[in-house]
Symmetry: C2
Subunit: 343 residues, 2 copies
Amino acid sequence: MLTERQRMILNAIVDDYISSAEPVGSRSISKRGDVGYSPATIRNEMADLEDLGYLEQPHTSAGRIPSHKGYRYYVDHLVPWNSAESAEVGTIRAFFAEKLNAMEQVNQHAAMILSNMTNYTSILLGPEVFHTSLRHFQLLPLNDTTAVAIIVTSTGQVENRTVNIPPEISVSDMEKVVNMLNSKLVNVPLYKLKSRLYSELGEEMQRHISHYEELMQVLDTALESDQEQRIYLSGATNMLNQPEFKDVDKVKHILDLLEETPTLLKMLSPVAGGTGIQVRIGTENSHEAIANCSLITATYSLDGQALGSIGILGPTRMEYARVMGILGILSRDLTAMLAHWYK
Amino acid sequence: MLTERQRMILNAIVDDYISSAEPVGSRSISKRGDVGYSPATIRNEMADLEDLGYLEQPHTSAGRIPSHKGYRYYVDHLVPWNSAESAEVGTIRAFFAEKLNAMEQVNQHAAMILSNMTNYTSILLGPEVFHTSLRHFQLLPLNDTTAVAIIVTSTGQVENRTVNIPPEISVSDMEKVVNMLNSKLVNVPLYKLKSRLYSELGEEMQRHISHYEELMQVLDTALESDQEQRIYLSGATNMLNQPEFKDVDKVKHILDLLEETPTLLKMLSPVAGGTGIQVRIGTENSHEAIANCSLITATYSLDGQALGSIGILGPTRMEYARVMGILGILSRDLTAMLAHWYK
DNA sequence: GTTAGCACTCGACAGAGATGAGTGCTAATC
DNA sequence: GATTAGCACTCATCTCTGTCGAGTGCTAAC
C-alpha cells in the first residue's frame, strides 16, 4: 500500500514526534541522516500521507503529527523489534532475582519498576481468581456473631472476609462443614466453587446438619470472591509529566479513570483471542477520557492459561518500541517465574 | 489580643476567601450584611491585621488573603462549631447502617464517602497493628519449599505472607511449634509478638525441636508485620479541582507525595498527646510539597486506645468548619461502631 | 522524478494602552 | 476620638497590534 519511501518518512515523523512532542516539519526530516531527500520532496510525500489519513496537520503551516491510523501503521509495521536495551533487561532480571515472597509483593513491586522504567503509568492485574483453585478453607470465630473466612488458593494467595454467623448454627456443625469442604473441594477452581458446593456437598449436608440453609448462606458469602483488590497501579502522576497533559482539565479525567477499579479491570482484561502484546491506540480504547492515550498490554500465564495482565498507559505519542520490548520481556519472565514457583 | 471588630473582620475575610479563592477587598467585606462599617474603616483594620501577621497582600492594590497565622487563629478561635449539616450527618449514619463486613471494606468505603462529601482528598489509616493482638496463627504448606503464614488479629484482620521452609525442618516439628504459638501467645499484642516468641517459647522449643534456629528464622519472617497496606486513599484527583492547583507542576508534587505510603503514614500518625481533631496548616506539615495545604486529622479508637486515623487534605483555603464537623462525627461513629462490633 | 524559490498562512510572542479592583492617605463629619 | 468620603496611586489583567519565524503549497527549473 505505502511505498518504501512513504514508510520511511512516516517512520521518521513518528519517531521525531515521539521524542519532541512538536509537529514535525519537512525540513527537520530532511536533515536527519537517514532520509536523503530535500524538504520539498518530503513535503509532497507528507501531503500524500495526509490524504491517506496517516498524518494530521494541527493547522495550516504547522508541521505534521501522526494520526491514530499513522500510529497504528507504525505499531503494526514499523516498530523496530530489537529495542529492549540491555540495561533494561538487566533491571528486569535483577528484579526477578530478588527474593520476593508473596505474590502481593511481586505485583506491587513489578508495577513500580515498570512505571519507573518507562515513565508512564503502569497497571497490573494480579492473578485472576478465575484460574486458581482452592487449597484450603477455614472459618475462624471472632466472637458470638462473626467469624473470619480464610481462603487459600493454589497460588498461595490468601483471601479473607468477615461473615456473620446466625446464632442457631452450632460450632460443631460448622466444623463438620469446613472439614467436608476441605476434603471434597480442594483443587476445585475458585469460580466453580459455589456450584460444586451445592452439587457435591448439598445432599450430605442436608442429611447431617441442622439449619442447612442458614449455613449455606454463610458459606455463600464466605466464598464470594472479591476481585476488587487485585489491581496494582503505579506512577499515575507520570501522566502529569507529559506535555500534552499540561492542562489540568485534560489530565483530571484520566486520573479519575485510574481511580475506578471496575473500569480498569474491563480495560485490562485480555480481548478474546488476543494474545501476546496488544496495543490500543487512542479511541480504540473506547473511553472518552483516554482518547489521547495508548494502552499497551501483555498477559502472563501459568499452564498456558492467562493469569493476569500488565498494562502501560501513556499518551498516544508513546515510545511504543521501548515499552513493547520491556513488556514482552517482563511478561515472559513473569510467566517463567510462575511456572518455576508453582511446580 | 484582637478586638472584637478585628475578629469579626478576620472571620469575614477567611470565610470569603474560602469560598471565592480570590483576594478579599475592603468593599466586599463592607457590603456583607453582618459587618456594619464602611470600606475605609475596614481598610484601616485590615492594615492593622496585616501588621499583626494575620493577613497578607499578594501585591499592592490587591485585596487581602489570610496568612497561615490567620488561618490558625480562625481555626482556634473563630470556627463555628455547629456546622455539620444534618444532610451530612445523614450520609454518615446511612454509611454505618450499611452492612459492611470486613474492616477492609469499611475503610475503603469510608475513605470514599469522605472524599465525596468534602471534595477533598481523604486518607484513612486503618487499625494499627500496634494495638491489636494475636487471635490465631497458622502455617499452611504450599509445596516442598514454601508455606503461607496466616495471622488473624483480634479485630478480625487477616495478614498473610509466604515464607520459605528449609528442607531440614520436619512437618511435625512445624505443627508442634504452631500449636505452642497458638496456646501461649494468643492475645499478645502483635508488636510484642516477636520478643515474647523468644522469651516464652524459646527454651521449650530448644528442648523439643531439632533445627531450632532455622525454625525460629521462619517464624521471624512469618510474624514480620507489614504496615504498608493499611492506607486507604480516596479522591486524590479532587486536588485538581482547586483553583490554586491549576498549575500542573504544583499539584504533581502533592500527588507524588500521596503515592508514598511511608510518608503518609508519618503524616497521619497522631502527634504525641494530641487527641481529638487536629489541624495542621501549611508549613506546619513540614513537607515542602504540601506547604500550601492543610491537613485535618481525627483519630478513632477502641478501648481508649487510638486505632487509626482519618485525614482530609485540601488547600490551606479549606472549609475548616465543615470538614472538622464531618470528621468529628465520623470518628465518633467509627469508634462507637468498633466498640459495638468487638465487644 | 526531484529540487529550488517564493508567496502565503498562522501560531507564538512582546509591547502598548485601557480597565478596574483595591489600596493608603488626608480631610471632613459625626 | 472614631468613622467615613474623596482622591490619587498601584498593579494585575485583558485586549489589541505588529513582528517573527516555522512551515506549507505551488510553480518552474533542473
